[in-house]
């Protein structure tokens, strides 16, 4: 038998649980305890579209080096769900560990010879200690955290602090949790060889980083961005974004008399949601909606109106696996084209691509300035992995001298002074016209907003030349957008290379680890992280400067690659897709293998790699 895996501050623990069993808070406690020991972690929920009874997993990547993507593989499986036992046991890396509830005997045939087994009679201990059925269930979870603390050397004082923070003001609850934790810990210390080969050592690698989910961050970003109207329809995985906005708006925007400086409408569907956003923005409020792929499909007609009538709108799309209902609780980056070219007719839209919650906050606020400046829709594309998981990221930052940039809005004073107002007149040569808010002036500046063709002074027309004039100005505006949206971020390889990689969004964390691994193997790759569409000129230069460029994405059809070919006139052979789309977040091992194997083989065929 292979020797047990040994590692300090660098391993993967996966918890297999049953949905609705109360495991989430215990698993969070485990993750946060490691974080408080100064060791970076990345945690991910893998859950079903279900409230109770189906399998759910929680994966904790411990990385002293600070790699926050999924690595791939599992070193320690905490197998608490008999339904998924077979596949959970199969997923453990050779030499890894299997932690299980040994109350009932499990036949030898159901274990693996190359995996080290750790049995703790959790159910028996709970049954002995508690009489209430719910308590037996809930404390079993805390108990395994206690046992793991002994096996992995989690500092029990940290857990005690976390529990007292969590139950501040409810000390009656903190005590029994503390006792259950201690019970599990004591049993492991007395009966098991502690520690395992996997150990934790206090470090100082977390710094001032914060641990937060992307949806809350984006909701907070919308508060800082000055959004006052939120209209939404519940859909996984975006619901917690609207809820995040509500939570923070309530905290920061409630007057002493209880009245609110914001309005949230849970609409009847996604069509009404985007309609409310457009109506509010037309009338001078900052407004947004939060949705996922199916909602984007439903909003198409209105998005075209927002583009053509030139009304700012902000749409947060927390992507999930499509098409159709797809896998509602699995992650993907598969709405890139649907967002970039949303609606019928010739349209293109600004798309922002945050990599983590820090950027969800920053782009969440910036999106409102960009939408107001360009007077058009702005999509912020999160995905389930960023949106619903807690990520360790740089703290949120804000400059108090910053002011909302409302773009080109003509005031009553300017109208009164005789400034020429043509709603669709390109007065400044950047393709962006001036607008007025309804009610501005008794006799000047009113216009009729429509989705039909009109001239520069908003008068209805079907004259071809006037239509073309307008469509060309919209293109000009899109050129202007390139200078407004976030620029790409370059990471140059240690040595000069003709190989590049382009990536974006939630793939970034796994990408960083893969790049380090490739470099260690002597494979040098320049990397460009794209943060927005339209693409900055720098993107074209990057592709031109390399012989082959891998494009790493979490969808089947290489959507960003399509967009790059289409918008930058790049030949298909130059862009090699690396595609991971099975609904789980992309892993560093997958990227490393896909790029490394091709480079080493020196064959770089034009084909997508299959998901692992």
């Amino acid at each position: 038998m292979r020797g047990p895996v040994t590692a300090t501050n660098d391993f993967v623990v996966k918890f297999a649980n049953v949905n609705g069993s109360g495991s989430a808070s215990a698993n969070q406690l485990f993750a946060k305890a490691i974080l408080r020991m100064g060791i970076p972690i990345a945690s991910r929920n893998i859950f079903p579209s279900n409230i109770q009874g189906l399998p759910t997993w929680f994966e904790v990547r411990v990385s002293g080096e600070g790699y926050l993507g999924r690595r791939g593989g599992v070193d320690l499986m905490v197998a608490m769900n008999p339904q998924t036992w077979e596949r959970d046991v199969a997923e453990i890396d050779p030499g890894g560990y299997l932690f299980y509830d040994s109350t009932r005997p499990v036949p030898q045939s159901r274990f693996r010879e190359d995996v080290h087994v750790i049995g703790v009679p959790l159910t028996a201990m709970c049954n002995a200690a508690y009489t209430d059925a719910r308590q037996r269930q809930l404390f079993k979870n805390i108990m395994y955290v206690g046992a793991l603390s002994a096996l992995l050397q989690i500092d029990p004082a940290v857990v005690e602090t976390l529990l007292s923070e969590q139950y501040k003001g409810k000390e009656k609850l903190a005590k029994p949790n503390q006792e259950a934790f201690q019970m599990g810990r004591d049993w492991a210390l007395a009966n098991l060889p502690c520690p395992l080969g996997l150990t934790l050592e206090r470090a100082d690698k977390v710094g001032d980083r914060i641990y937060v989910d992307g949806n809350s961050a984006a909701g907070l970003g919308a508060v800082y961005g000055g959004a006052t109207v939120c209209a939404w329809y519940p859909i996984t995985p975006s619901t917690s974004l609207a809820e995040g906005f509500e939570r923070y708006a309530k905290k920061f925007r409630t007057d002493p008399d209880g009245r609110k400086r914001y309005a949230i409408v849970q609409a009847e569907d996604e069509l009404a949601s985007i309609g409310i956003v457009i109506g509010a923005a037309w009338n001078g409020a900052r407004a947004f909606t939060a949705t996922s792929g199916p909602g984007i499909s439903l909003m198409q007609e209105f998005v075209g109106l927002s583009y053509f009538a030139e009304i700012p709108s902000v749409i947060f799309d927390v992507q999930r696996a499509g098409p159709s209902t797809g896998m509602p609780t699995r992650t993907q980056q598969s709405d890139v084209l649907a967002a970039a070219y949303a609606s019928h007719g010739d349209t293109k839209h600004v798309v922002l691509l945050p990599e983590d919650p820090h950027e969800c906050f920053a782009f969440g606020a910036d999106a409102f300035d960009i939408a107001d400046r360009l007077q058009q829709p702005v999509f912020v594309l999160l995905d389930l992995d960023i949106g619903m998981n807690d990520w360790l990221c740089e703290p949120f930052a804000w400059d108090d001298s910053r002011r909302m940039d409302r773009g080109k809005v003509m005031t009553a004073e300017e109208l009164e002074a005789g400034r020429v107002f043509g709603r669709y007149l390109d007065a400044d040569g950047d393709g962006i016209p001036y607008r007025t808010y309804p009610g501005t002036h008794p006799s000047k500046g009113a216009f009729f907003t429509r989705g039909t063709s009109r001239d520069r002074f908003a008068k209805y027309t079907e004259v071809g030349a006037a239509y073309v004039d307008n469509m060309q100005r919209l293109l000009q505006k899109f050129e202007t957008a390139k200078g407004i949206v976030p620029r790409p971020v370059l990471r140059q390889a240690a040595e000069p290379t003709r190989t590049g990689v382009i990536y974006y969004g939630s793939s970034s964390a796994a990408m960083r680890e893969a790049l380090s691994a490739l470099e260690a193997e002597g494979i040098h790759v320049d990397a460009l992280r794209i943060r927005a569409f339209p693409f900055h000129q720098e993107v074209e230069r990057f592709v031109a400067d390399h012989d082959q460029v891998f494009v790493v994405e979490q969808n089947r059809d290489a959507q960003l690659r399509t967009l790059l070919m289409n918008e930058c006139g790049i030949v298909p052979q130059q862009l090699i897709p690396v595609l991971h789309y099975d609904g789980t977040p992309i892993t560093a091992r997958f990227i490393r293998a896909a790029i490394g194997d091709k480079v080493l083989a020196q064959i770089l065929p034009f084909a997508g790699a299959a998901a692992e």
């Binding site: 907070l220 925007r253 109506g279």
Partner: protein, 351 residues
């Protein structure tokens, strides 16, 4: 339609309202609808109502969907911002606009295709949410712009111009509005301006969801024998419940009425709705009785018109949401952006 531009000059002695505006100041572009279209009469009634109410035109936002009716906001209140949105979605756009600035008056104009078919959901939800607006459906029972298909308000058994008989049940928007909590509900007829103008005035001065179903014959596709939305048919079957006068402080009471003949309802904004009863037993403040009466008279083949329901003390969406009195679109950075110190406290809580 007329191709001659309307002259901007007008007679110097044209009457003015309290703001010094003439009726012409409430007009818009020349209508492109068919000559004799009921919708143009409704536009004229809106102009008359706003003029008489001394409304500043730029304080009105006129919103519509798609269709013949939805084109009309271009033909009145030329100094107001207008929004011709997408088919069936005027209610959501109006809702958003209202959330952004609660101080403007919101006038939604829609048609039976726009509100009873493609936009039935949005119509219903804007009413039940209590959006403060005057929502007028110009109801001709037919798709005019696409040349004569039945709409969802066409009566069962009515005949299309080409002879097809409608086999589907009609949606009664007044019934839906009553059921879903509209606080001002009326039905009228584009051919009865005396009835329509006061009903629009009452709706404009109402502080809640006000709905008017205005039957408006389509001269091109639904004004023939066998139609139940033709001028002749509506005139023959129209049964008015009451006659309304809207009295603002500027209009002193002059006429004499017999005791019991008149009922006055004071609206939240101080305007008085004076209802001259045409049916002694009809009580327009009783929602359930109004619904019952409508069903009963419909079964008898009548088209019931007038002010059918009024709640003089309505609650609107802003009251339900608890928003501040100041319009949301006028809140600046200081009131909206919590700042760096607050953010640092959030960061601390996330470590």
């Amino acid at each position: 339609m007329s191709f001659l531009p309307k002259p901007k000059l007008h007679h110097p002695k044209l009457p003015t309202n309290a703001l010094g505006y003439t009726r012409r100041d409430y007009e818009g572009a020349i209508s492109t609808l068919c000559a004799g279209c009921g919708h143009d009469s409704i536009s004229a009634a809106i102009i008359q109502a706003c003029f008489e109410l001394d409304i500043e035109p730029h304080r009105v936002a006129k919103m519509s969907g798609i269709g013949c009716s939805s084109k009309t906001p271009d033909y009145f209140l030329g100094a107001s911002h207008g929004f011709n949105s997408v088919h069936g979605r005027m209610p959501s756009v109006l809702t958003g606009a209202n959330l952004a600035n609660r101080e403007l008056l919101y006038l939604g104009v829609s048609g039976d295709g726009d509100s009873a078919s493609i936009g039935f959901g949005q119509f219903a939800h804007s009413i039940r949410r209590g959006v403060n607006m005057a929502y007028i459906v110009e109801n001709n029972g037919v798709y005019g712009l696409t040349k004569g298909q039945f709409s969802a308000t066409s009566d069962k058994g009515s005949k299309a111009k080409k002879g097809t008989v409608n086999t589907d049940e009609a949606i009664d928007l007044v019934g839906i509005a009553l059921q879903l909590g509209a606080t001002y509900v009326a039905r009228s007829f584009s051919g009865d301006k005396d009835q329509l103008v006061p009903l629009i005035k009452g709706a404009m001065r109402h502080d809640g969801p006000a709905f008017i179903d205005c039957i408006s014959p389509c001269v091109a596709f639904n004004n023939h024998e066998g139609s139940t939305k033709s001028y002749d048919f509506v005139r023959e079957h129209n049964e008015a419940m009451n006659r309304l006068d809207v009295i603002t402080s500027r209009a002193p009471i002059t006429a004499d009425y017999a005791p019991g003949e008149v009922r006055e309802v004071e609206q939240h904004d101080g305007s008085i709705l004076r209802l001259r009863k045409l049916h002694a037993e009809y009580d327009p403040t009783d929602r359930v009785a109004a619904m019952h009466h409508l069903h009963e008279r419909k079964a008898a083949g009548e088209i019931v018109t007038g002010l059918l329901f009024i709640d003089p003390d309505p609650r609107d969406l802003h009251a339900n949401l608890g928003t501040v009195a100041r319009p949301l679109n006028r809140l600046g950075d200081a009131l909206l952006v919590p700042g760096a110190a607050a953010l640092e406290a959030i960061n601390t809580g996330l470590r």
